[in-house]
Symmetry: C2
Subunit: 407 residues, 2 copies
């Protein structure tokens, strides 16, 4: 039939029983007449355990040696996966990132894939073998082992699928597929059969953490169809693909709420050109990722600037802000970490009006105050009080009728 | 000063504390002005644990995938060792067998080293770095990961020392050095300052398991001086080197007793040419390692043949013997696993008479019956009753005055 890349995350290969279960999924796909490339992550908590070993030795391990260490996690998984396939009577062969020529840059612990030499994989596929490749790892130009950062096995799978021109890239996870909202918060949330890369990207960055965002971008760039599937049952999952005409008929595809940001407000900034630039330059220099930014002119030529940063970076952000304020001399700096960001996403927004209006009025009806607003072509986000996050998500989910099946 | 290879076995790197201790030994050697190459084994029981993982998946794992799996054990060790050296403020870099070009044949799980590309190691040494290499592993000509069998880290260390023309190869173990006999059995046993390769080879094959026999042979071939040292204290250990004139003045260097063999006796073999050949051909075909063999003509042209095999192979050996006896038609096959082999070793034996006589009379004085005798140029072994093994070892140790310091 075709060539299918199947990626199993850590929980899907956590122990012998699950590895055997994953091997059955692989063999089933192979028996349906497909060539199969399997990408596996380290088993369960292995990567965390390896990091702990390093920290027993030193507080500050060298990145190159960390990669040498943690890359063993996937190497164990590929060997066990190949054995499990053998035990079912099928031919399989495992490869490390180095063996299969996954060449990355030299940014240890967060390397990016530059090229993959697919020759060896193709040779083995053509021998009728199932090829098992270690996710999350590669080698740089000097043959040093590198790793791709958390979620890096997604990157391996998608890059292999792109370069092998695979017909499909299965991402096996511990969720059933992509939902209109987090089912733990919104019981009426509905699994989507299809979603576009762009919508999933917005959702991924919003905390619906089914896949690494960089991998979704890569899949979009090379137009690799993804299928997010559960590893523990046979449900069909969600296809992630390019836009099709029908998608535009649906105004909103999903909604999400995140609580991992905090907000900083600078009041009374003298309103001269270049003040904002100074602030955000200083924040960038401190490696703070700024998300939403709004600025108002208040009175007497004074501006108020508010922006959000990851909670983990709030301390660094406040320090940077105070540092630059020695120069800017704004009247007051305050922060609030009890906020939530509520977002709705849908490529249909491009051609439909009234989405923002409906979102705002829904929140108003619920007596939820909107602190900040930010919009993109396919997304509207509002910052609200953290205590009202779940209430807001449920209200918006209902207002946009996300529980109803699409036309 | 020079170039020193230092090998740390599994118990010497079992946990973070011991890895740090080993790193201190390495740094000390480096600070004394030497270039240092470190070879490490997998931590403690890691290799056994990895084998267990494989056996949770299948009873019969493919050898290639087993090597892929267990080679991760040393990879973890090299990363942690390099980190520990870094933490002490010194430069170090780790390499897997593949990265450093340790090329082996393709006999997975028991491969032999063919070549090592020492270019990379030399480059790093010349940068002033301590080079940490994974023991026990290599790659074959097709870039498949291979392992060298139990004790394979010794082989890595000795081969590296030979090819780098090292001045010394330190083998750190959990014993103080090489003793005249096992100190647990003979309290008077004395640590040797020096021993020849040949003597240690005979002792290694006799169960004084400080080093893999193949590695000692290799060290002898390339004349690599070895130093067997304790990793947990600073005692000087034992130098293993080529013969020097003074060694010949000492008739017996050490004594050992092993209980890991069993004996098979075939009585009443019709005494025709080729009978013994048939028996041992059949045993070889069954992968049984025969050690000692004796044959007597009893009476009426019937021969008795007795030989020893490892206890673990006794069942297979008996089956093979019975199988071939359908053809040979000897009168009786019996076996005894309650035996011990007592041996004395010394290169001085070559030029001294009366060693055998003294050993036999010592055993006679102790009322210990000798069941079999085998001799080589530098060794005499006697098979005796297992129950008398320790008594015999102590008596022989005393008779040859092994507790007295050499001239």
């Amino acid at each position: 039939m075709g060539l299918i890349v199947q990626k199993f995350g850590g929980t899907s290969v956590a122990d012998a029983q699950r590895i055997k279960g994953a091997a059955q999924r692989v063999v089933q796909t192979y028996r349906e007449g497909n060539q199969v490339v399997v990408v596996v992550s380290a088993r369960g908590q292995t990567t965390d355990e390896l990091f702990s070993l390093a920290h027993e030795i030193t507080d500050n391990p060298a990145a190159r040696e960390l990669d040498m260490l943690v890359s063993t996690g996937e190497q164990v998984s590929i060997a066990l996966m190949a054995m499990a396939i053998h035990a079912m009577g099928y031919e399989a062969i495992s490869f490390t990132g180095a063996q299969v020529g996954i060449v990355t840059d030299s940014h240890h612990t967060k390397a990016r894939i530059l090229t993959i030499n697919t020759k060896k994989i193709k040779e083995e596929l053509n021998k009728g073998r199932i090829v098992v490749v270690a996710g999350y790892q590669g080698v740089d130009a000097y043959n040093n082992i590198t790793t791709l950062g958390r979620g890096g096995s997604d990157a391996t799978a998608v890059a292999l699928a792109a370069l092998l021109k695979a017909d499909l890239c299965d991402i096996f996870t511990d969720v059933d597929g992509i939902y209109t909202a987090d089912p733990r918060i919104v019981p009426q949330a509905r699994k989507l059969d299809r979603i576009s890369y762009d919508e999933l990207l917005e959702l991924a960055s919003l905390g619906a953490q089914v896949m690494q965002a960089r991998s979704i971008e890569f899949a979009k760039k090379y137009n690799v169809p993804l299928r997010v599937r559960p590893s523990f049952n046979n449900s069909a999952g969600t296809i992630v693909c390019g836009e099709v005409k029908e998608m535009e008929d649906v105004v909103v595809s999903g909604a999400a709420v995140t609580k991992d940001e905090a907000k900083i407000t600078i009041r009374g900034v003298p309103d001269r050109p270049g003040q904002a630039a100074k602030i955000f330059k200083e924040l960038a220099r401190s490696n703070v990722n700024v998300d939403m930014i709004i600025q108002n002119i208040s009175s007497h030529s004074l501006a108020d600037i508010t922006f959000t940063v990851p909670k983990a970076e709030l301390k660094a952000a406040l320090e940077a802000t105070k540092r630059i304020n020695e120069e800017i001399r704004a009247q007051e700096i305050s922060s609030d970490s009890k906020i939530a960001k509520l977002s709705v996403v849908g490529i249909g927004m491009r051609s439909h009006c009234g989405v923002a209006e409906k979102m705002f009025s829904t929140l108003a009806d619920e007596k939820i105050n909107i602190q900040m607003i930010s919009t993109s072509e396919i997304k509207i986000s509002c910052v609200i009080d953290e205590a009202q996050a779940e209430q807001a998500l449920r209200a918006v989910h209902k207002a946009f009728e996300l529980d109803k099946v699409r036309a």
